[in-house]
């Protein structure tokens, strides 16, 4: 125990004097988590809070074009900007000049065609009511399509949402016109506004509720997504310091001397594991603290700590141990410092990619989904997401913790075999 304690003291001293290593382990992930959360938060706000600027060029001289603009505005998704006296060319020029995301061109005969289609539909309806043949007996006129110009940077999912929203506004304009025509044909007077409103407004509301395990309704935000993800990345990034430390000791003369002393090198390995496990816990504490206290101060959403604090602690220890085990394993097999750093950095990015830190694993298909289960980061992230986003308890995430422990034990076993084969223990 005395030897282990003195070895831990030695490792801590060396670690504290390695300022570059400390910067890599703490500053880099802090910067990363703030930057990524800020960017993602802007996107969330663009979609969820801020309205998307939509430049409208109304070429229609009738009332339906104006009505459509009002209905698009009422959707709440767009900030409508009308370009008076413009045409399609000036619309795209305006978009280009102002980096606008969306442009909508309403065709010149829009009102005329909407009215014609409404009249046709009303006639058919009246004929059905009266049991008489359709007086016009002609196919309904086709309304010229609306043209929507979009900035190519808009993601496909957002474009689909925009298309659906505009389609619903169009549907409302056409339905309103049909209803008015039908009412006029029946009653020979204008339809009362209150009745029109009652008939066209949807009373069936949609309640959007996040399905959580603990029944709480915390809305997931950019902080809830990014802080756990980049904490895991930071933990595994200690390979840059720990892997290098193992290699440095191995290739330096000090290792030869250690081999001649009456102490097993496993004491040295155990010391590194404990020292760097504490480092990973500190990383998590620092990054979580930033999420709780710093994020609100800089205008980012605050991180909500899960109800199961003990479960969060267990997951953090297990993730940290896995990260430390991986770093030592790489350090034992690397022949040089450059090998450890190069392989370490690249492998961490790959494990992060296939583990769902960069692209959500639920969006992965086939081989990518299978590969994800081999990345320890995937299981760490799933465990954290269950706690942070779904309100899970420790018992709910055992199916995530067990794979992490299995992967960790594999790293430990491979490390032991490596040390034995290289005659290091």
């Amino acid at each position: 125990m005395f030897k282990l304690w003195i070895t831990i003291k030695k490792d801590v001293r060396i670690l504290l004097r390695d300022r570059v290593g400390i910067a890599l382990m703490f500053l880099m992930p802090i910067v990363l988590v703030v930057v990524v959360t800020s960017i993602q938060n802007s996107t969330f706000q663009l979609v969820n809070k801020n309205k998307l600027p939509a430049v409208v060029c109304n070429l229609d001289a009738g009332k339906s074009g104006g009505q459509l603009i009002k209905d698009i505005d009422r959707i709440g998704l767009f900030k409508v900007i009308t370009l008076p006296g413009s045409n399609a060319d000036s619309l795209t020029a305006y978009m280009d000049k102002n980096d606008a995301m969306l442009g909508i061109a309403i065709p010149a005969n829009f009102s005329e065609k909407v009215s014609a289609k409404a009249a046709s539909s009303a006639d058919k309806a009246m004929a059905e009511f009266n049991g008489t043949p359709d007086s016009l007996n002609a196919p309904p006129p086709v309304i010229d399509p609306l043209t929507v110009y979009y900035n190519p940077v808009l993601q496909q999912s957002l474009r689909f949402s925009i298309q659906g929203a505009i389609q619903s506004a169009l549907q409302l304009v056409e339905s309103r016109q049909t209803l008015r025509t039908l009412y006029y044909n029946t009653n020979e007077k204008e339809m009362p506004e209150a009745l029109e409103k009652e008939m066209l407004s949807a009373d069936s509301k949609i309640n959007m509720i996040p399905a959580s395990k603990d029944g709480t309704h915390t809305t997931p935000n950019a902080a809830q997504h990014n802080v756990p993800a980049w904490t895991i990345f930071a933990m595994f990034f200690i390979i840059m310091s720990l892997g290098g430390s193992v290699v440095r000791e191995k290739v330096s003369g000090s290792f030869i001397r250690l081999k001649t002393l009456p102490t097993n090198y496993m004491v040295g390995i155990m010391s590194k594991q404990l020292t760097y496990l504490v480092v990973t816990m500190l990383q998590a504490a620092v990054i979580f603290s930033m999420g709780i206290w710093l994020f609100p101060a800089v205008g980012l959403p605050a991180l909500n700590i899960p109800n199961d604090i003990f479960g969060t602690f267990v997951v953090t220890i297990v993730c940290g141990w896995c990260a430390v085990s991986y770093a030592i394993c790489v350090g034992v097999f690397a022949a040089t410092h450059e090998q450890a750093n190069g392989f370490g950095a690249i492998s961490i990015v790959i494990l992060a990619c296939i583990g769902g830190l960069m692209v959500p694993s639920f969006a992965m298909q086939g081989l990518a989904k299978t590969l994800a289960s081999f990345s320890p980061m995937h299981w760490c992230l799933e465990a954290y997401y269950s706690l942070f986003l779904e309100g899970a308890q420790l018992k709910d995430i055992l199916n995530n913790i067990i794979p992490i422990l299995i992967i960790t034990l594999v790293f430990q076993l491979v490390t032991y075999i490596g040390l034995k084969r290289k005659n290091l223990i």
């Binding site: 030695k10 330096s252 030869i256 002393l261 102490t263």
Partner: protein, 250 residues
């Protein structure tokens, strides 16, 4: 723990590096008496460092045995490792740490307790002139100071045998004298010294017994005066050239 009159006893030693077809040692026998000052010499590539690594258990022999005071050096109980200290040619310590911190760590690994380590640290830093820099990082030291730290770590646990691989390479005259004087003191107190160096004049002053090795074979061995007399040479350097030739070695 076994007891023997031999500090080092090598019997029928065979060794070959994995993946290398050339045999480094085959059927090598060597004995070094307790309390001896023993010098091991040879040209570059002769196998001095390999033999030193085999004697300290850094390398494992393919055949035969290496015993230190009767204890097998490769035994899993590491009993032999308590008996010797090793001063490698490289600076084998942590450059980020101070001399005191290095000694604290290596002392614990050598089996000393906290009190013993502190007592020996104070003693050695004083003897080797490192008292004033005991808390400064070793990485900023001169070559001579680093050599003294290297030596201090090797002798920290007062071992009965000390293996020294070129302990004075690259140091000034003052440091060399300080190191050699201290080694003499240790030997006077009964410590066996196993020493390799290319500084043959220095070796003549320090060693009583010598062995020349070349191509994994001992080509001359015995009391230094007897060996010189047998080969009709006055200095070790003349003998060295005579035994190993003038061709350059890598």
């Amino acid at each position: 723990m076994a007891v023997s009159n031999w500090a080092v006893s090598i019997e029928d030693l065979g060794f070959r590096y994995p993946g290398n077809e050339n045999v480094s040692f085959s059927g090598l026998n060597l004995q070094v008496a307790k309390g001896e000052r023993f010098g091991l010499f040879g040209p570059n590539g002769a196998g001095k460092t390999t033999l030193m690594n085999l004697m300290t258990g850094v390398l494992k022999a393919n055949t035969g045995s290496v015993k230190l005071l009767g204890n097998d050096v490769t035994s899993s109980d590491k009993a032999a490792n308590r008996l010797f200290g090793f001063v490698p040619q490289d600076f084998s310590f942590y450059h980020e740490l101070s001399p005191a911190e290095n000694l604290e760590f290596f002392g614990a690994w050598a089996g000393l307790n906290k009190t013993q380590t502190k007592q020996r640290t104070d003693e050695l830093l004083n003897i080797l002139g490192l008292e004033d820099v005991r808390d400064k990082a070793v990485g900023k030291f001169s070559g001579g100071m680093k050599r003294r730290v290297n030596l201090a770590i090797g002798v920290l646990h007062s071992p009965e045998i000390i293996f020294l691989d070129e302990p004075t390479v690259g140091v000034d005259v003052h440091t060399r004298h300080a190191i050699m004087d201290y080694l003499q003191i240790l030997n006077n107190n009964g410590t066996t010294l196993i020493y390799t160096s290319h500084q043959l004049s220095e070796a003549e002053d320090l060693c009583k017994h010598i062995a020349f090795i070349d191509a994994g074979q001992i080509i001359a061995e015995g009391d230094i005066d007897t060996v010189l007399q047998q080969h009709s040479h006055e200095t070790l350097e003349e003998l060295f050239i005579n035994l190993t030739g003038k061709a350059l070695r890598d």
